[in-house]
């Protein structure tokens, strides 16, 4: 990793999940104890069927959910909502989650406004963020005037405007058509390498996981747990051509088999 400062003092891992689990008061075991370490600069995908606890895990990293047991550390410090105010962490939701009454620029400026950043500085940063996602011409438009893909770009611009180190994305492109999704996936990889981000990305698409990730964390449902971790050792930048290579198919097949095995085990466990 290029950001390690020599072997003597390695950078602390961006995320450490230590036996974190989630049981709801009604007894539902959303997530069995999970151990996972994510290094700075990684692009990790949490892949699994619905109900496997991948969104739960992501929300615990964000501090939106408390683990019922275990610990989560960000750069060796316990996760709490303060992490967001230090502007190291940004969250992108499944839907664009924009304020319909505010313009595109107003939406992107929101985290800066909430943090009390002065207007002139905020304006310049908003303009930069919008240019980054190619929406500088739409700064004054209202969200409803934009397509679903463009709204998602606004959401990404809003997350990048705080210059985060860690980007948490909860199935961000799940509701988009496939062509738009491929486009945004490619753009996201560009931003990831340009901004040297650490990304944790939740998806249920095997192809998206292989295309994007340095590492795929496979999860299974009932109860939610991690079943396998697969490194995608393919060079970046990855383009659409990567998706038609034999390596891509091999990884996809490997994930597919792993997913099938996991769901068979789960259904057997449910039967017994």
């Amino acid at each position: 990793m290029d950001r390690h400062h020599g072997a003597a003092a390695p950078a602390p891992p961006a995320i450490q999940i230590l036996s974190a689990e989630k049981t709801y008061p009604d007894g539902t075991h959303a997530l069995q104890p999970v151990d996972l370490t994510i290094e700075e600069g990684e692009f990790v995908t949490l892949l699994g069927p619905s109900g496997c606890g991948k969104s739960t895990l992501l929300k615990m990293i964000a501090g939106l959910l408390e683990p019922s047991d275990g610990r989560l550390l960000l750069w060796r410090k316990p996760v709490s909502l303060t992490a967001a105010t230090e502007q190291k962490l940004a969250f992108v939701f499944q839907s664009p989650t924009l304020m319909p009454w505010a313009s595109v620029a107003g939406n992107v400026r929101l985290p800066l406004d909430l943090a009390g950043v002065p207007r002139p500085e905020a304006g310049a940063r908003v303009a930069d963020a919008l240019e980054l996602v190619g929406l500088d011409k739409f700064a004054g438009a209202l969200p409803r005037a934009l397509s679903g893909g463009m709204q998602m770009r606004v959401s990404i611009a809003r997350s990048l405007v705080t210059e985060p180190h860690l980007l948490l994305m909860d199935e961000p492109f799940g509701a988009l058509d496939e062509i738009t999704r491929h486009k945004l996936d490619a753009e996201l990889l560009g931003l990831w390498s340009q901004k040297k981000l650490t990304v944790v990305f939740v998806t249920h698409s095997i192809h998206e996981a292989v295309f994007l990730s340095t590492r795929v964390v496979m999860m299974a449902a009932r109860p939610g747990r991690i079943v396998e971790e697969i490194h995608i050792d393919e060079p970046y930048p990855r383009t659409a051509d990567f998706m038609v290579t034999p390596e891509f198919s091999r990884y996809a097949k490997q994930l597919q088999d792993s997913l099938l095995r996991a769901s068979t085990v789960a259904s057997e466990a449910a039967d017994s």
Binding site: L81, A84, F91, T97, W101, A102, L110
Partner: protein, 268 residues
């Protein structure tokens, strides 16, 4: 037809022209029936006679209109301010809402005609007592709509505010109030009409004459004297007041919500 006159195809023009045509047909039929069947004016006055009465009796009717308008507008203002304050109390805490909401419903389901005599006895000032009656009628839609609006917040957006450590005040100003506005304006639209109904009902019950008499009193008096044309003229003024209130609220809603809300853009 609309091919020859392109401006007729515009929805804005149609919204005025079409109801206007219906009005012309109805009024013509009314006038024709009254004249044709030779109906006496103490049963059904012709629209022409009604308009004539409106002008000849304008001194009495005009001042009555002002009185009714005053009560309606005051009651509407009181209901809006009180309703919004009560909703803010309701959304602070679920227990408060649970404890108090049944009483808001009680207020709504008790017919104002039944309560009005009490209020008129208790409150000495006749205008104040009628304003209280009318605002009680207009209050509930503001409370229920604004409370619903303040609670109808996108949960992800709320999480986003929480993650960014928004203060209670920031969340209120930047999230809760804007989210509630469409609901609030829906409540305003209903309440403006109810305030007028409440004002007329209160006037009926109060039955005050003299200089402070409103349109309802004019209708009562005209009824006693079988002055049916004047009754019709007063009725027309009440209806026009209601329409004017509705139009004013629609305009206000459009001004406040602009282009962002679906209810304001879908039909244009």
């Amino acid at each position: 037809m609309s091919k020859a006159v392109p401006w007729l195809r515009q929805p804005r023009v149609q919204r005025i022209v079409y109801p206007g045509l219906v009005a012309i047909v109805l009024i013509a039929a009314w006038q024709g029936l009254v004249v044709g069947l030779d109906l006496p004016p103490y049963l059904v006055p012709s629209p022409f006679l009604m308009m004539k009465t409106l002008f000849t009796d304008w001194a009495a009717l005009g001042s009555a209109l002002l009185v009714t308008l005053e009560i309606t507008v005051l009651a509407f203002a009181v209901a809006t301010v009180a309703g919004v304050l009560i909703s803010f109390v309701f959304v602070q805490n679920k227990q408060i809402e649970t404890a108090l909401f049944p009483y808001a419903v009680l207020l709504q389901v008790t017919p104002i005609v039944a309560v009005a005599p009490l209020i008129i006895i208790w409150v000495k000032n006749p205008t104040a007592s009628m304003v209280i009656c009318a605002s009680l009628v207009a209050l509930f839609p503001i409370i229920s709509n604004t409370t619903l609006g303040l609670r109808s917040i996108d949960t992800d957006l709320q999480s986003y505010f929480r993650m960014n450590r928004a203060t209670r005040w920031q969340t209120l100003m930047r999230l809760r109030i804007p989210s509630a506005l469409p609901y609030f304006f829906g409540g305003l639209r209903i309440s403006s009409g109810l305030a007028l109904i409440g004002a007329v009902v209160a006037e009926f019950v109060a039955g005050t004459g003299g200089s402070g008499a409103g349109l309802a009193y004019q209708i009562l008096q005209a009824g006693f004297r079988l002055n049916i044309p004047r009754m019709f003229a007063a009725l027309l003024l009440i209806s026009l007041t209601g329409v004017a209130l509705f139009v004013a609220m629609a305009w206000l809603t459009r001004r406040a919500l602009g282009a962002w809300h679906a209810s304001e853009t879908s039909h244009d």
